[in-house]
Amino acid sequence: MSTLIPELGHFSAFLGLMSAVGIALFGFFGANQNRTAWVDMSIRLTKVQVAVLALSFLFLILAFLEDDFSVLYVANNSNTALPWYYKIAGVWGAHEGSFLLWTLVTAVWTVLVATRARHIPLKLHGYVLGTLGVLSVMFLAFLLFSSNPFERLVPNVPIQGADLNPVLQDIGQIIHPPMLYIGYVGFGVTFAFGIAALATGKIDSAWARWVRPWVNIAWLFLTIGIVLGSWWAYYELGWGGWWFWDPVENASFMPWLAGTALIHSLSATEKRGAFKNWTILLTLLTFTLVLMGAFLVRSGVLSSVHAFAVDPQRGLVLLTIFVLVAGGSLVLYAFRAHTLNTQVQYWGVSRELLLLINNALLVVALFTILLGTLYPLGHEWFVGGDEKLSVGEPYFNAMFVPIMLLLSFALAIAPISRWKHTPMRLVVNALLLLGGSAVVALLLPWILADGVHLGVSCAVALAIWIIVTHAIACYRQRKALTLGFIGMSVAHIGFAIAVIGVAVTSVYTESKDARLKVGESIEVSGTQYELVDVQSTESQNYIGERARFDFGVRGSLFPERRYYSIREHITHEAAIAPGIFKDRYITFAGPMENDTWGVEIQDKPFQRWIWFGAVVAGLAALIAMLDKRYRRLSQRDLEIKYSA
């Protein structure tokens, strides 16, 4: 039985492809011909698809747990000495398995849309499922024909596997990729809604209400996925860095920016019927960026921490998928979009205007990141030659930071703004609050620290301003507060918290390198750190040294240096004392000459605020999603539909 597991997994994935073909055909033609039975068939097939793909995934997990090294992918990414939970995480530790997870996530989203969105009109539902079916077909075909994780390694079956990359042997690997994929593919759902709107030629506030919960949940997962990645890099790879503008980080960040723009644009489409064309374009753009990211990461064209092993042929297939989806959807858009638009009146500092500014700034930010990410590739392809380029962090910081400060400005006025037109009096009041925030932001560092850093004060002033205007707006509306408004306020406050974290930690981090003998100590940012002792440590698959540092009254940290013998790979396991106001971060370099030990100690104020703010914003999307109007109005629409 167990020897058949890879074949069963392979076969299940193949059945998944077959059902995806069915979902696509029955969905599209059911919608096109208005046949309820066909759309129902498509819905039923989504259940089949998710079941067989879950089975396939389970079989790959079993192959890992049973150390079946006759499977090439298992042999390359696992080892008998690997703990069982890393064997499972190893399933998505490299390209093939992670793509199987990707297809499974697609199937889960599809079945959710099929079963949880039965209240939407038949035509729309059919087209949405049809589109998701087509995406599934492409993903599964790519998986089966050029990235098969079940490929056998016969007859020379290795006795031992090559082990999972030690950097990936971490809790981060267990949760970061799944979260990210759920977010990525979630934007496939909103993409499908965009395509379906173009196909039916109908987009109204009901459509916007149906899409919004899906956008929010996808955005929530993508946000959490990115935060986890940043946090993981911070302690595992990053030497305390939390964002590197690495091409692959950018590849996840660009859809996030587009998705954020989409959330805002949808609000105007729902409430005012405004920006319809633009909203549709954003649904298409967001998922197009997801696919572009997949291409960049999985083709090996970029130089990155995250890039998988290079395989040009796979890159070509992914590029084809990207071009098909992007090109196809844009052509459809070009032919159909003009049928959608309506004129909406607004003037002065209206909420529409602020949302427009928000979208313009987010798209400009996205565009600058896109240029910075693709520039080296473009240079190589079009100019060629031996000269190679890269675009570093200074470029991205110089472009991105000012745009975000401008965005903060618009964001702080958001809670007091009204649709159509905002009375000038309210705007003036808000601006007065900015004055107060600026005073606080200038005084605080002057009292607490030696000097005022103008950039940090600017950012903190804007952040305080955002928090204050939202808090006041919520208080004023306390009797008629909707979950939608709370969600918006919490999200914006989360953004402000993250802004404070980014500004303070970037400027005030203090870092020192040293070589210490046991018993010696070093002072960083006013605290003495003493190297108390160093002991050897070992586990199933590594050996190493573990140092003990004491600081303050009774603080201790235990950074490690590990040597993974199977891959001959050294990792530095930093030790971190997290805190609300500062992180203490110690990296242990191991033995040096003359009985000394290399060490780097960092003091990183407000580091946690970055992730905390982002998580708060992510959860805010969940709050907004639970707003009654998405449920109640959908019910009402349903009644209208059936009474008509």
Binding site: A309, T368, L371, M399
Partner: protein, 143 residues
């Protein structure tokens, strides 16, 4: 001009000017912040700017890694395995996968004495994956 035409025109103008400004600023920033990548023979021949940050790559020469007797400073040589070799100076902890005989990319500035002061040292991340720059170099050098 009819009102809706005027409106459309103003939108188009706004988009055009906004788009153009963005592109110009971006290109300006790219020109300033781009890091060129150089191989050992280019570094040695001296046609490399010393006033700006660059990236350079090569193989870590066997036996060249020398740690200071105090502090975390380290000096090592990068070579193309033919005849060009230059020294790199780095203060800090070398990355996990930094090894003698393996490829590395360094980011920093070349000083006037031909020593490369690195602010970052990047090694390849696992044995299946190498930065594309290095891959090119290896093919170039080891036919």
């Amino acid at each position: 001009m009819k009102p809706h035409r005027r409106r459309r025109l103003s939108i188009v103008l706004f988009l055009f000017i906004g788009g153009l400004t963005t592109v110009l600023i971006t290109i300006f920033a790219l020109k300033n912040y781009i890091n060129h990548y150089y191989l050992p023979d280019q570094i040695v021949s001296g046609d490399v700017p010393t006033e700006r940050t660059i990236r350079a790559g090569g193989m870590v020469k066997k036996g060249s890694v020398a740690h200071d007797s105090t502090g975390l400073g380290v000096t090592f040589d990068l070579t193309d395995r033919v005849n060009s070799t230059f020294s790199v100076r780095f203060e800090g902890i070398l990355p996990s996968l930094f090894r003698e005989g393996e490829g590395t990319v360094v980011v920093g500035r070349l000083n006037d004495d031909g020593v490369f002061n690195a602010t970052r040292v990047l090694a390849k991340h696992d044995e299946n994956y190498e930065p594309p720059e290095l891959k090119g170099m290896v093919e170039h050098v080891d036919p």
